[in-house]
């Protein structure tokens, strides 16, 4: 066995340049695939993290008949006395924080422009709002008692030419199906670097939002953050309530998981084509090696080497090529991934997201161990399969004819 590999190694060394280029072809293919796997991984895990942080949380409690596509403000669709529910949830051990939120639809108008927004009433002091507080680019965060302050996103402020201290007119729907409008002063401008979120969401203090929409002491949802997202099920069990509907982050973000599965399915096609191309390079290299050594193969079989062993010799060669290509490919792939992990790829102008999931304006690759292992194994298998045909060709040669071959 060892002898076999030693011979294969020497044979590969007989035409170093060709061997190097074959290895390079395999390495380039593998590196490309690793990069793509890591990119999708980065995009999707960042989408999940961003969506949990900004929009879904780990858990949300809602009234049984609340329909989130409608943003209804009817009292029977809302959670009554949210402060008490929030206090109860906060006593559970895995919970970092729970906070009431109220959703309403509205229009922001200033001078000659107007645009539709989603209004979110928040409890300003809760740490669930840290992503927005830390994302402040100018002005101040809201305070609980503020009666005419509003927090808007940077894209919205740029689109409408607004600054901190400017006044805007906000219209919102109310619990009885009517609308109310009022002037607000912009207290602060935030950016979460997620364009679809920032341009559509404006924040009010919860009490003000309740007063404006006629939903005193009610909330649309209780937003819950956990210490560890794996504890979700434990908390769901501990809550055991029939009054409220409990939504987990997996349930709320199903569309992200579906999208990830879909991209992975499309990628498999891509993998096959890239590896198919590298396989042809390997096949050709080995076919050439077989024909160069026709006489040699004749001698081997003339002195009694079995065709299975001749075949094994060429398979050993292709496995060495595979290993070399994989090692170089891992290095190239790791370098490319490291570059995109640091520098990212700007997609903010594409305005992806909105249908329930959020992608940040810049996507960073995230090294995907699982993806890398998968494509590495696939590359090895494809290379070995590519080696089968030349090896069979060598094994099938008639000793006498092979010996007579010219040269």
């Amino acid at each position: 066995m060892i002898q076999l590999f030693r011979m294969a190694f020497r044979d590969l060394g007989r035409n170093r340049r060709r061997t190097f280029f074959s290895i390079l072809a395999l390495a380039m293919g593998l590196a490309l695939l690793i990069l793509m796997a890591s990119f999708i991984n980065g995009e999707m895990s960042s989408a999940m993290d961003t969506t949990i942080k900004l929009q879904s949380g780990h858990l949300q409690l809602r009234q049984q008949n609340y329909d989130e596509t409608k943003a209804s403000l009817k009292w029977e669709n809302l959670i009554e006395d949210p402060a008490q529910v929030t206090r109860q949830i906060a006593t559970l051990e895995p919970v970092i924080a729970a906070s009431a939120r109220l959703f309403a639809s509205g229009i922001v108008a200033s001078r000659d422009q107007s645009t539709g927004v989603q209004i979110v009433g928040i409890e300003p002091d809760s740490i669930t709002n840290n992503p927005y507080r830390e994302g402040l680019v100018s002005g101040e965060f809201l305070t609980a008692g503020d009666r005419d302050g509003i927090l808007i996103g940077r894209p919205l402020s740029e689109k409408m030419g607004l600054q901190v201290g400017d006044q805007i007119n906000l219209t919102a729907n109310t619990s009885n199906g009517d609308v109310s409008d009022q002037l607000f002063t912009i207290r602060g401008i935030y950016s979460t670097e997620t364009r679809v979120f920032d341009s559509a969401i404006v924040f009010l203090p919860l009490e003000k939002a309740q007063a404006m929409t006629g939903t005193e002491n009610h909330a649309s949802t209780i937003f819950v953050l956990l210490k560890d997202k794996d504890q979700t099920d434990a908390v769901v069990n501990a809550l055991q309530t029939s009054r409220y509907k409990i939504l987990t982050w997996t349930k709320m973000n199903e569309v992200i998981i579906q999208t990830e599965n879909l991209s992975n399915a499309y990628m498999s096609l891509f993998y096959l084509i890239v590896l198919g191309v590298t396989a042809t390079v390997i096949i050709n290299t080995l076919i050439m090696a077989v024909f160069e050594r026709t006489r040699e193969i004749g001698i081997f079989s003339a002195i009694g080497m079995r065709s299975r062993r001749i075949m094994a010799m060429f398979l050993a060669e292709s496995s060495l090529l595979a290993i070399g290509g994989i090692l170089l490919g891992l290095v190239l792939g790791a370098l490319a991934v490291a570059y995109l992990e640091r520098n990212g790829f700007y997609i903010g102008n594409m305005a992806v997201g909105g249908g329930g999931f959020l992608i940040r304006d810049t996507v960073y690759a995230k090294f995907s161990l699982e993806g890398t292992i998968n494509v590495t194994i696939m590359a090895f298998i494809v290379t070995m399969l590519a080696g089968l045909y030349p090896a069979a060709l060598a094994a099938r040669m008639e000793p006498v004819e092979a010996l007579r071959a010219e040269k």
Partner: protein, 409 residues
Amino acid sequence: MKFYFRLAWRNLWRHKRRTIIVAVAMALGLGLMMFYDGLIAGFDQAIYGNAIKVLGGNIQIHAEGYNTELGQNPLLPLPDDQAVVLAALSEPLVESATRRIITGGLLTSPEGAFGVNIIGIEPEKELGVNLAAQHIATGRYLSQDDGDMIFIGQGLAEAMDVGVGDRITMVGRSTHDQMRQRTMTVAGMYDLGMPEYEKGTVYVSLGEAQSLFDLAGQSTEVAVVLKQLGTEPKVISALEPLLPGYEIDTWRNNYPELLAAITTKNGVMNIFGVIILLIAGIGILNLLLMAVYERTREIGLLGAMGLKPRQISILFILEGTLMGLVGVAAGIAFGLFINGLIRLVGLDFSAMTSATEYMALISGRIYPTWGLEKLLGRALTVAIIAALAALIPASEAARREPAEALHHV
């Protein structure tokens, strides 16, 4: 030169198997790119058709400054909309030109509230070209003197739980910075098979919109429907001198994110395509290195007969390029095969329709085109990479000393 071609072509087929394997590699790369081009073009067409339907025409004419206004759909009236309509109708390629008012607003009912685009239309004039008018699910379409009547999408009606004859509150903003609130009665519902889009668009009569938004006798857009797709550039260039100071756009300008998304994806795909072809190019490189070695004596002979080193290297570069072109031919066949196959079934993207505003315009399956849009450029890329791959072997062949090469056994 013809002589070199013949020689290179014959050399190419001396080892059929090797050449075919390399051609397969090139074909896989090119076929993948054709598949991708076909898919993007298929998206483009699907969105194109629907975008024209929902934008109310192939071409939109707005007042100067409309697109640079910061907000979406500003209430910026056209200085002389009748003149614009007349100018557009004077073009023989134009089917219809109608005045519209488009603005953002909010619809509320006790069930909830929805942000929508409110479109004021001239109902009778649009009857022949407005797809919503032609796809009435229940109730009736609008008429010119309809006050306080609204025509909404089936998707919205379901979400708001309203039926024909029910009342909903519509809120919009007039030009004078006041919120306008009006109770509207649902006249009818349309169904275009695009639920996401339907949720976001409602129609009222132009007269109603004019009074609601303080635009008496005015409009903010003229929507032009053409008799034939693809004649947009011709009509635009004919209209531009007639309507100086107006902004004349096609649907593409109305979806800047779509354009950005396609450009970015194309850029990424070009890079991937070139990398895949480079890998296939390595196959050509290896093969020709082998050929140079095999034909050492031949090369010596050619040199002895007086062929200059440069001419010998041309021979090998030609051989490499031809190999690439054989790959192109096989790749076209492969690409047509894949695209033809997918055209039969289509790809289901309906799950993604809520992802972006423009994806809402996709009504279900995407059928790729044949993928021939960028074929010339793609084929050229293959040929260039193949020629580059032949450079090293070619220079090696050219460097051989005739006498030594002849002695080679």
